[in-house]
């Protein structure tokens, strides 16, 4: 959107530019040079394009993208935090099936439009989560025989 705050573009393109410059720096300083020949070419183009984008953002000429609103971030954050905790800690700590079922139930509770003050809707959420556990276990443990980290409960 054209009226997207310039600061958002500056931060986003600044981060990409920082990565580009870092990649470029590492490519040109690491040895053996032959192993970094291709990364040097790529990283040079990467850094140039990233700095160009950053420059455009600084001059207020970046206009592509919808950006982030405070409202959308408020909606995203709870789910994103749950997902990150699931992936980086709970899946290994609690076991895949236990953690994913808890996460499924939590996300369902957070984003389900059904009222939270009715027993019936909570029972429905528990039943759906249990169904999810059965399907995931059937697919990955029984059908695909995927060996997941040990479960905390079973």
């Amino acid at each position: 959107m054209n009226n997207l705050p310039r600061s958002q573009h500056i931060v986003a393109s600044g981060l990409v530019a920082a990565v580009g410059v870092w990649v470029c720096f590492v490519s040109y300083t690491q040895e053996p040079a032959a192993a970094f020949l291709f990364p040097r070419i790529i990283s040079t183009v990467f850094a140039v394009l990233a700095l160009w984008t950053f420059g455009k953002a600084l001059m207020g000429k970046s206009k592509v993208g919808n950006g982030l609103t405070a409202d959308s971030m408020k909606k995203i954050l709870p789910g994103l935090i749950v997902a990150i905790v699931f992936v980086f800690w709970a899946a290994k700590g609690l076991g895949f099936y236990t953690a994913s079922t808890i996460v499924f139930f939590t996300l369902l509770s957070l984003y389900d439009p059904a009222p939270h003050n009715e027993v019936r809707t909570w029972i429905k959420r528990i039943v759906i989560s249990a169904g999810y556990l059965v399907v995931m276990y059937g697919l990955f443990a029984m059908l695909l025989s995927v060996f997941t980290p040990r479960e905390i409960l079973f």
């Binding site: 990409v16 053996p32 990364p39 990283s43 160009w52 984008t53 950006g67 899946a91 995927v146």
Partner: protein
């Protein structure tokens, strides 16, 4: 006519069962708004690990074909395109359904999809061996330029900003260099133990396509599904078949437009459907009826978006250059079975290549038959709350990424890339060029190194990479695609955001 000898493989009970599962599952997934064909195919890859290569590809190919067609169900019955390829179908399909002709709209949609799809796969069958033979003449420098072409053409055509498209392609190419260098064994950019083996393509694909969708569903908050499913009254199929033949002009325009657009890397079904709709309207004596529930609109759009499926795989199967994100995902499906597509695919693994292509041909017909019967069910599935959908996709993404190598590192990479991609997309970056860069990076680097060695021993790098008719042609196409996109951007004809694109297309 070599392909005829491999039809038997498709009809073995197990393969045919997979074809049915892929087709029916794809129709249902395709009807679900928010689940794109690319994401559906990416999430299915882990389920092909224990299958043979041809069987795995049958499942993926069937899912790809039918998700594109299945998107028409929600476009017609809910006015929500299941995939971007079905945007044009909404214009006349939903209006027709509102007039009580939902069944007829669905019948026309699936019949047109089948005709377009069969033509597209026939084009794939007859073009691929010819191009594969021609591709034998390609040396390292040509393959290097082809890989670069694959990234730049998608970077420039698929993104709302040329610079950001190319930048996303560069990020993908850089990500592909992470890990140990193949020749010297040197460590490159390994800043976390999870990256010591490099970035595995499958978890990366799952993350890049699935996680942004999950976060987008989060961003909708606790919204109630507002769209009502329009009730479908029975309608004789014979009438729809006669209508298809009567509207042969729209069918031809749609099929040819879709086939040609499918051959161009980076131009997807969304463009095919809209261009075919527009052209069909221009050539129709009843152009005033378009947008009011006119059958020609549905026929043109649906025949086009399915006709592009087959031709979009030609560059992948002949040159190992995926022309679209979904083709890139299919390439991932081939690579996990140790099969590398390219000019020698039809010599080394003809059973895999032809069984896959033949299954797509049969899949088009199955898709038409089952589409008509399960459209109502698919529309109901499309109403599954987004909270359930987001949590399910997240679970599938985590389990699917882990199952590639039983490695938590892959899950971390999947989540990190996916979350990063969501935020990049909010600022105009696109996943498609990044994915293409990630997949084509190793091809580009291997051929660059090989070419450099040849060049050092013979004519020098400049002469080896920048002279010769094929090198020059490929380089000119790279430059032309960038120049064209820059010109279009300067003329302000490109859409500022994807949301703008959708609103402008809806206003067509």
């Amino acid at each position: 006519m070599e392909f005829l000898g491999y039809f038997g493989e498709v009809f073995t009970p197990f393969s045919f069962g997979l074809l049915l599962i892929g087709t029916i599952g794809g129709l249902i997934l395709g009807a679900t708004p928010g689940l794109s064909p690319t994401m559906a195919v990416a999430l299915l890859i882990p389920f092909t690990f224990r299958l043979e290569a041809a069987q795995g590809l049958i499942l993926l190919g069937a899912a790809y074909t039918s998700t594109v067609a299945g998107g028409a169900v929600s476009a017609i019955l809910l006015k929500i395109p299941g995939a971007p390829a079905n945007i044009a179908t909404t214009l006349d399909g939903h209006t027709m359904a509102k007039k009580g002709q939902g069944a007829r709209a669905l019948q026309l949609s699936f019949l047109a999809s089948a005709v377009g799809g069969v033509f597209g796969v026939l084009l794939l069958i007859f073009l691929t061996p010819v191009l594969a033979t021609w591709a034998l003449a390609f040396g390292p420098s040509h393959l290097f330029w082809l890989a670069i072409l694959g990234v730049t053409i998608i970077g420039t055509l698929d993104s709302s900003s040329v610079v950001k498209g190319l930048l996303a392609g560069c990020i993908g190419l850089w990500l592909a260099t992470i890990g140990f260098d193949d020749i010297m064994g040197a460590q490159r950019f390994i800043f976390h133990p999870s990256l010591s083996g490099g970035i595995n393509v499958i978890p990366a694909l799952i993350g890049l396509f699935a996680i942004p969708q999950v976060i987008t569903m989060f961003s909708n908050g606790r919204t109630q599904a507002s769209a009502e499913v329009i009730k479908v009254e029975p309608s004789p199929i014979g009438d729809a078949i006669r209508e298809i033949f009567r509207r042969s002009r729209s069918l031809t325009i749609g099929t040819l437009t879709g086939s040609v657009i499918g051959l161009i890397p980076g131009v997807g079904g969304q463009i095919a459907g809209l261009v075919a709709y527009d052209q069909s309207k221009k050539f129709s004596p009843e152009r005033d009826k378009f947008g009011t529930g006119h059958s020609e609109g549905i026929i043109a759009a649906e025949s086009a978006n399915n006709a592009m499926v087959g031709p979009s795989l030609v560059p992948l199967l002949t040159l190992s250059i995926p022309g679209s994100p979904t083709a890139a995902v299919l390439l991932g499906g081939l690579l996990i079975h140790g099969i590398f597509p390219g000019s020698d695919l039809f010599d080394n693994h003809p059973e895999v290549a032809w069984t896959f292509i033949n299954s797509m041909l049969i899949g088009q017909i199955l898709m038409c038959i089952f589409g008509l019967y399960i459209a109502g069910l698919a529309a109901r599935v499309a109403q599954v709350p987004q909270s359930v959908m987001a949590a399910t996709v997240l679970g599938l993404a985590v389990f699917g990424s882990y199952s590639v190598q039983n490695s938590m590192g892959d899950v971390y990479v999947m989540m990190t890339l996916g979350t990063g991609m969501y935020f990049l997309e909010r600022f105009g970056f696109s996943a498609a060029p990044l994915v293409l860069g990630l997949i084509l990076g190793p091809i580009a680097e291997a051929n660059f190194i090989q070419g450099s060695m040849i060049a050092n021993a013979t004519s020098g790098i400049g002469q080896y990479f920048f002279t010769g008719p094929l090198n020059v042609t490929l380089l000119m196409i790279v430059l032309a695609s960038v120049a064209y996109s820059v010109w279009m951007e300067m003329r302000n004809k490109r859409y500022v955001t994807k949301d703008d694109a959708v609103s402008k297309e809806e206003a067509l």
